[in-house]
């Protein structure tokens, strides 16, 4: 009753660009041009500006500089190894969640997102306090066994921290993909005698591949371009910190910083394109939409314990920075000791007294930005996979640029482009209007949502839409009634990643916020963290931000579960 129809030439319907598609394509293109390409180009042009006109000399300098070549190689190595580590954590988790009936699956899904929410600076301090060379873990190791583990030193430290930080990208996307696999596919395979490893290898893993690849590509590119962790660990022999340190040198428009950023953008896009090549020529979509995920089994008691032990260990590891954050927010003085000297609630009092508005702003801005992201992501994914609109692949490529563009470049670009324009009806510059923060966050986090939406649509066979259309549904109705509901898992994954990561965005925030009353929590944390006395309140605000994101994530997963259960019932 089901088949993974390997249709090389996908259906014929919807293959000519309709006026509606052209309009959507133009709208997306306009948004990207206005809020991404233009601002970034106005800053990045420095890469090719020479004393007399334009020049490519700076790119030659890049190639000739041993330090940059080394940094390039290091960045690739770190990104690749981080993918390996993230895979080792995420794949078993995702499989357990999808395959077995678990109490509290939504809880684990939620806790799995939390690593992405690492408030800047205060998160760094918490990480050092737990895993640093004189962090709790190493102090204990040293006391008990007389040695330390350099968790946070050199490139291996970067891999360790990044792997822990970004494995949720794989977990989220893979879970979404697994839950889209139809149970009947599996049943069919079982009827044919497949079971255990064969079943996983021949049916489950191939069908979930788009989700995994989407997640792994994100981890790779994100780690390749990540700035926060290398700076936290003072690992400067990587490309992103090399670019950042040059771009943010005060008063110097150093072209090499922008050259490095350009190289990073190009390489990241190539990596995403390469990941698309992996999937090319295969079709992952399934027609049947009744199953709602793999058939879930009960675990035997022994296996359940083993599963819980594994999950607990992983969660303990990935949540330890947040445990550190919690201790920091509750502690008085914490210095060169396993735990803080004493505990207090005073920091939370200080935060609630002065800083409650930050949280409201964060939720508002990030939810709107994430909503904008999934709308754009769905639109682009649909245009790319379902239409022949000319230039649609460009939309996809351009929308991926922000993943490699340092936030500070986008922030400066926004100021440069929109500060001269006033908000209609007032004398406030558009650039510093709080709505611009939403746009800036949306642009910056668009790649996450886009990859998630693309993966979701790749799993959806076009014949479902064709069926709907042949039954007389219009394009819009098909989209609304068939495509979007069936993509819901991927859209949700995209929303959650965008929302969670935007909640802790700092570099753009610091450039674009002009009023305390309009500022989000990441700004509040930054302000606290500028003085030693602010460490506790900063951590408290960080904890609250994490909790807010966790609650939002938990409820979106609950909603998805209810939806999935409903679909599951209907299908059987």
């Amino acid at each position: 009753m089901t088949a993974a129809v390997a249709s090389g030439a996908a259906g014929t319907l919807g293959r000519r660009a309709s006026p509606g598609q052209i309009a959507v394509g133009l709208a997306v293109a306009l948004f990207l041009a206005l809020f991404l390409v233009l601002p970034v180009a106005r800053v990045m042009v420095a890469a090719i500006e020479g004393p007399d006109g334009y020049t490519l000399d700076h790119f030659g300098d890049f190639a000739r500089t041993a330090l940059f070549r080394e940094a390039f190689a290091n960045s690739i190595y770190v990104a690749f190894m981080a993918v390996v580590l993230a895979t080792l954590i995420a794949v078993p988790l995702a499989y357990l969640l999808a395959r077995f009936r678990f109490r509290g699956a939504a809880l684990i899904q939620t806790l799995g997102v939390i690593p992405l929410v690492m408030p800047p600076f205060v998160g760094a301090v918490a990480m050092q306090l737990v895993f640093g060379r004189n962090g709790s873990v190493n102090l204990l190791l040293n006391e008990w066994f007389g040695f330390r583990i350099p968790f946070m030193e050199g490139l291996n430290g970067v891999i360790f921290v990044e792997g822990l930080h970004y494995f949720p990208f794989i977990l989220l996307n893979l879970s979404a993909a697994l839950s889209n696999i139809d149970a009947s596919m599996e049943e069919a395979a079982q009827n044919l005698g497949a079971s255990g490893w064969t079943l996983a290898r021949r049916i489950v893993l191939p069908l979930a591949l788009p989700g995994y690849v989407a997640g792994a590509a994100l981890v790779f590119v994100k780690v390749f371009d990540d700035l926060g962790t290398p700076l936290l660990l003072n690992a400067t022999n990587l490309l992103a910190p090399q670019a950042y340190l040059r771009i943010t040198s005060i008063g110097l428009d150093d072209p090499l910083g922008y050259v490095i950023a350009t190289v990073m953008v190009a390489f990241s896009l190539a990596a995403v394109a390469a990941s698309a090549l992996v999937l090319r020529g295969r079709d992952f979509s399934t027609v049947q939409r009744g199953g709602g995920g793999l058939g879930q089994r009960e675990l035997t008691a022994g296996r359940r314990i083993a599963a819980w032990v594994f999950i607990s260990l992983v969660l303990l590891l990935v949540l330890s920075p947040h445990i550190g954050l919690l201790l920091l927010s509750l502690g008085t003085v914490w210095s060169f000791s396993v735990l803080p000297d004493a505990f207090t609630l005073a920091h939370y009092g200080a935060v609630f007294g002065q800083s409650a508005h930050y949280l409201g702003n964060t939720v508002l801005y990030c939810a709107l930005a994430a909503a904008l992201d999934v709308v754009l992501g769905t639109a682009i994914a649909y245009l790319v996979l379902r239409t022949d609109l000319p230039g649609r692949r460009w939309l996809d490529a351009v929308a991926m640029i922000p993943i490699a563009v340092p936030g500070v470049v986008l922030g400066i670009g926004m100021l440069r482009t929109f500060h001269g324009i006033n908000l209609p009806g007032s004398d406030q510059p558009l650039a510093t209007f709080w709505g611009m923060l939403i746009v800036a966050y949306a642009v910056r986090r668009l790649p996450y949502a886009l990859r998630a939406c693309t993966a979701a649509l790749q799993q959806l066979h076009i014949s479902l839409e064709e069926a709907a259309e042949s039954l007389g549904a219009g394009k819009l109705a098909t989209l609304r009634r068939i495509v979007v509901p069936l993509m819901a898992g991927g859209i949700l994954a995209g929303f959650v990643t965008s929302f969670a990561t935007a909640a802790v965005e700092l570099s753009e925030t610091l450039l674009l916020v002009t009023r305390e009353a309009d500022a989000p929590a990441s700004y509040g944390i930054y302000v606290y963290m500028q003085s030693p006395a602010g460490r506790g309140p900063g951590a408290a605000l960080g904890v609250i931000a994490v909790v807010v994101v966790a609650v939002a994530t938990y409820f979106s997963h609950r909603l998805a579960e209810i939806d999935r259960a409903k679909r599951g019932k209907l299908g059987r």
């Binding site: 004393p51 000399d57 300098d61 000739r64 500089t65 041993a66 330090l67 301090v125 050092q128 306090l129 640093g132 060379r133 004189n134 962090g135 050199g154 700076l231 003072n234 400067t236 022999n237 340190l245 943010t248 040198s249 005060i250 008063g251 110097l252 428009d253 150093d254 090499l256 003085v333 914490w334 210095s335 060169f336 000791s337 500070v408 922030g411 400066i412 100021l415 500060h419 007032s426 004398d427 406030q428 510059p429 650039a431 570099s507 610091l510 450039l511 916020v513 002009t514 009023r515 009353a517 700004y523 930054y526 302000v527 606290y528 963290m529 500028q530 003085s531 030693p532 006395a533 602010g534």
Partner: protein, 439 residues
């Protein structure tokens, strides 16, 4: 604009007009809330009707913000790093202002308090020194350091932190002070030997006190108030000024085309006034007033650069020299220390190991090898005269059409990087050989 702000704007002009001040003043600052809030409150009390709006940004973001918002700029820029003010001044983004306050001397230590050209005003002084975590030192059985030279000792290997001079205008001044105080070649030798003990080079000034506070490393090269305010907040840390230190002012400047010039000027005057200067004595702020009479109200052990002549006076700071090679020194430090820290510390580790062995068992051949190793690892790849040469130093400054440079920055940087990598590897080999010879 949000309703609350509109409401405030509607009510305030009445009161403010009485003093000729605008109803609000916007300040872009890198200072923590602990410093800005008391000032904002006190100013609003002294000038009811004018509302202080503080925007916190790190220095780099603040400079970028002011550069990009010339069509409607903030009113004041308030920060430590003198280099940031210099950059704004060069780009004509500041307005000259002559403070009316009397009683503030021309210099603190050997450094002018206000910008001689009048574009920014010093309101508080700070000195660089050594911060240490007492718990950490006790656990590692280390003595508290007192002078820069102490930080060269092998005992401190892996225990010291600094922020890169290219990232922190105040660290830059410390580096420049050491270079001017000891001379170019000897100064770099000191910096490279201290470099051998570094656990990390942080990309932001606050990263160093943060790490010392939490005990990631025991000793940090920091500006005084970071350490003193941490101590006041209860952290087990302390601070010492080495003999060779510069006292430098933290500054405020009025941004060009400020929308609220009168209120901005009033804020500057307030900072320099008796009342404003006293706020600096707050234990959470803990900076040195620039008004000598304010020290009468300070606690007994408060350092007073106007009385204690040893503070910041040993070096006659040559500001022109500093400016001529500012960017070059930053880039050079990054090339031979920040980005080659691993190689540098490995070389020094080998030298320390060989020296320990040699102390137990003297050996002339090994001694000679070690001397050579030390010479390799402490050599700076560019001479003092070259470093001042506008043709070379200019390569590191902002590119201008009217100032062509013969060699590009990237070429020098590649040369220095290659030098550092080679010299540190050779030094390590020599030291290992010395250790072998002394076996």
């Amino acid at each position: 604009m949000r309703p609350a702000v509109i409401a405030i704007c509607a009510v305030l002009p009445m009161a403010a007009l009485a003093q000729g001040l605008e109803p609000r003043v916007t300040i872009v600052t890198s200072f923590p809330k602990d410093l800005t809030q008391p000032y904002a409150q006190a100013f609003e009390k002294a000038h009811p009707g004018t509302k202080v709006e503080v925007q916190n940004r790190n220095t780099a973001a603040a400079v970028a913000f002011i550069r990009e918002t010339q069509s409607s700029p903030p009113d004041l820029f308030w920060a430590s790093a003198p280099d940031a003010f210099e950059v704004l001044k060069k780009n004509r983004l500041l307005t000259a202002y002559k403070p009316k306050s009397e009683g503030i001397p021309a210099q603190v230590g050997s450094y002018p308090i206000h910008d001689p050209a009048g574009f920014y005003m010093g309101f508080a002084a700070s000195g660089y020194g050594i911060m240490f975590n007492t718990r950490y030192l006790a656990a590692n059985k280390l003595a508290a350091p007192k002078q820069w030279d102490d930080l060269k000792k092998p005992a401190y290997f892996g225990h010291v932190g600094i922020s890169a001079p290219s990232r922190s205008g105040t660290t830059h001044l410390t580096v420049e002070t050491i270079l001017q105080g000891e001379g170019w070649a000897k100064g770099w030798a000191t910096l490279l030997e201290i470099g051998g003990n570094l656990a990390a080079v942080s990309d932001r000034s606050f990263g160093v006190p943060d790490a010392v506070n939490s005990g990631q490393y025991g000793v940090g090269i920091v500006i005084d108030f970071f350490a003193l305010s941490a101590k006041a907040s209860g952290f087990p840390v302390d601070f010492v000024y080495p003999e060779l230190t510069t006292i430098v002012p933290a500054n405020i400047g009025i941004v060009a085309n400020a929308k609220n010039p009168n209120a901005a000027a009033a804020f500057v005057e307030f900072l320099l006034s008796e009342v404003g200067q006293e706020i600096l004595l707050d234990p959470k702020i803990r900076r040195l007033p620039v008004r000598p009479t304010t020290y009468a109200k300070a606690p007994a052990d408060y350092p007073n650069p106007f009385k204690d002549r040893s503070l910041g006076a040993r070096v006659k700071f040559d500001a022109d020299l500093s400016e001529a090679r500012y960017e070059l020194v930053n880039s050079l430090y990054d090339r031979i220390v920040t980005f080659r820290l691993k190689e540098l510390t490995e070389a020094w580790k080998a030298i320390h190991a060989a020296e320990t062995r040699l102390a137990a068992k003297p050996n002339a051949e090994a001694r000679a090898l070690l001397t050579e190793a030390r010479a390799k690892v402490t050599a700076v790849p560019i001479g003092e005269t070259e470093a001042r040469d506008p043709a070379i130093a200019g390569a590191f400054q902002e590119k201008r059409k009217d100032k062509p440079v013969p060699v590009r920055q990237a070429e020098y940087e590649e040369r220095w990087d290659a030098h550092a990598k080679r010299a540190y590897a050779e030094a390590k080999t020599l030291a290992d050989k010395a250790a072998q010879a002394a076996r």
